[in-house]
């Protein structure tokens, strides 16, 4: 099982490599990838340095071009694919059919992975991308239970990668436009969900408010920790109740499921968080390296160490984690 870690910059990439990642994924400094945040990501030179660093230590590097170009941006996506080919990355992670077609046609030797943003949750959909573009691997959206993941694996020629840890999308990735409904920008079009430039915190007589694009996402009592106003993690009114109507601020953590994930035939575990610090990347990589090694050594006797989960909780949203969709009752 490959441990795939995020890198938003060169120090993060090195932290991932040094702490046990098998592969690292990154994106360019523009809207061609789904973590298009100010000050984040790589230019070509930095990417080449990072790739050299990882390669010299036997690690693989993937590049994400996983947003959806509109016609006026098409050339940027095309040139991103060319850059990936020039850098000879180990795989290109794509979502858009047009981009996949271009990459497969222009650079047939470049291995393609299907991004989670392609929103493919079943083996028939995966078959389309396999037949047409020869994808080698797909990252599954965070909507399937463990038995559903297993069923996909049993019926597809494509390697399956799943998310193991990090911020949790409650919606099916690649088909959620809540962000553009409120800000005009979505992960698909702009590579960012609930972009920071639309976030506002206001101190009022009734306490602190968080807003996104002017829309009230939450109110916090005195002393209550304010969260980032991602729409799906706000408190809203439905009927007579005001509550986390979609999802509490929490992170995904599947550490406890490691033996089952391996048994299901999962080829790679992905850690979310290209927007996070090198310290986060290093710490999470280290915990997961240890956990994966220990689950391989003794799958039947595996239980996550308390200190692993404590460390992961500290860097989790709301300081809590969930097994998310893998655990059916959560649904």
């Amino acid at each position: 099982m490959e441990l795939v870690c995020p890198a938003g910059n060169l120090p993060s990439l090195k932290a991932a490599v040094d702490n046990g990642a098998d592969a690292i994924y990154f994106g360019l400094r523009d809207d061609t990838n789904a973590r298009h945040f100010p000050g984040l990501n790589f230019n070509e030179k930095r990417a080449a340095e990072g790739i050299a660093y990882a390669r010299s230590r036997g690690k693989r590097v993937f590049m994400a071009i996983n947003t959806y170009p509109r016609p006026d941006g098409w050339q940027r996506w095309q040139s991103a694919v060319d850059i990936a080919a020039d850098l000879s990355v180990d795989a290109l992670i794509c979502a858009d059919i047009g981009v996949l077609e271009y990459a497969n046609h222009r650079w047939p030797e470049l291995p393609l992975h299907l991004s989670v943003q392609a929103s493919s949750t079943n083996y028939e959909a995966l078959q389309f991308y396999f037949d047409n573009f020869g994808i080698r691997r797909a990252v599954l959206p965070r909507v399937l239970s463990l038995s559903q993941v297993k069923h996909v694996i049993e019926n597809t020629p494509v390697e399956i990668e799943v998310f193991g840890f990090g911020s949790l999308c409650v919606m099916v990735e690649g088909r959620c436009i809540l962000s553009s409904y409120v800000t005009g920008q979505s992960p698909n079009t702009h590579g960012a969900c609930s972009p920071a430039e639309f976030v506002e915190y206001r101190e009022t007589s009734t306490g602190l408010e968080s807003r996104l694009g002017g829309l009230l996402t939450d109110r916090y009592a005195k002393g209550e920790q304010a969260g980032y106003p991602t729409i799906c993690k706000g408190r809203f009114a439905v009927g007579d109740d005001t509550f986390y109507a979609i999802e509490e601020p929490t992170s995904l953590n599947t550490l406890a499921l490691l033996p089952q994930l391996r048994q299901a035939g999962i080829k790679a575990i992905k850690i979310e968080g290209r927007q996070r610090s090198p310290a986060y990347v290093g710490m999470v990589a280290k915990v997961w390296r240890e956990a994966i090694d220990s689950s391989l050594a003794d799958p039947d006797g595996f239980t996550p160490k308390v200190e692993w989960n404590l460390a992961l909780n500290q860097v989790s949203e709301g300081a809590t984690t969930t097994l998310g969709p893998y655990y059916r009752p959560w649904q």
């Binding site: 509109r70 006026d72 949750t121 099916v172 088909r175 809203f236 109740d241 979609i246 969709p325």
Partner: protein, 301 residues
Amino acid sequence: MMNQALKLSLGPVLYYWSRDDLYEFYQQAAQTPVDTIYLGETVCSKRRSLRTEEWVDLARELSRNTGKEIVLSTLSLLEAESELKTLRKLCENGEFLVEANDMAAVQLLSSQGVPFATGPTVNIYNAETLKVLIKQGLKRWVLPVELSKSTLHQILDALTDEVETEVFVYGRMPLTLSARCFTARSFNLPKDDCQYKCLDYPDGRLLSTQEKQPFLALNGIQTISALTCNLLPEIDELHQIGVDFLRISPQFRHTDKIVEAFSRSIKGETTPDIKPFAPLGFCNGYWYGETGLRQISTSSR
């Protein structure tokens, strides 16, 4: 591309309505001036007011009695083998055009070599994607709701292949899908024991901000806009860009009157006021490349 008269379509019912309500709705829809009717369950496989065979029977009946084009719509988010089984049945119906709302259906239809349509949850953001799908048999596509007229214009400009373009012009917009059922959650029920609460919310359950701004509507595993998208004033523009079909998304009441208004507008007649049919208000921001929930006033254009 623009010369043909605009056609009207009735999108699939996004909500969980009872069997009687569905039959009554389609009996009424048969009398309206829509050219095309999309039929079938696109949101939740637990909704079985009509069995798959009954949807196909209804398609036959409507096709025979009205002469309208009938299209079978399919599920948008597929997780279980049972859902794929239903999808295969629909894709192999052999009679009616099928609307794919997930790439699974695109795969099943294109591998059989039959022409197909795509709904708003198949991600087509550029002409390159369209070209690939046209080669696979795509006959008609619905513009994803977050894309603007300028994007649509550019896509159609770059296209030489023949394909019909449909735009979602009226209704609460589908914004997202999840493994989780938010209607069940709002009653503190797990999805596996949802007690079919959606039946009580034939236009979705309203979700508002803490300052009572109507924001979203919960429709089971789907979340839609609380505001109603309305591009009635933009009809000429839609025509000029080269759109072929205007999609009206059914709502529980007054869909016939809304269809009537669009039909009159296409014919250049004066249209009745449809504001009362969307009590929470209209939005059209996406069409103008803006925030989706905004209403750009037609006079300030």
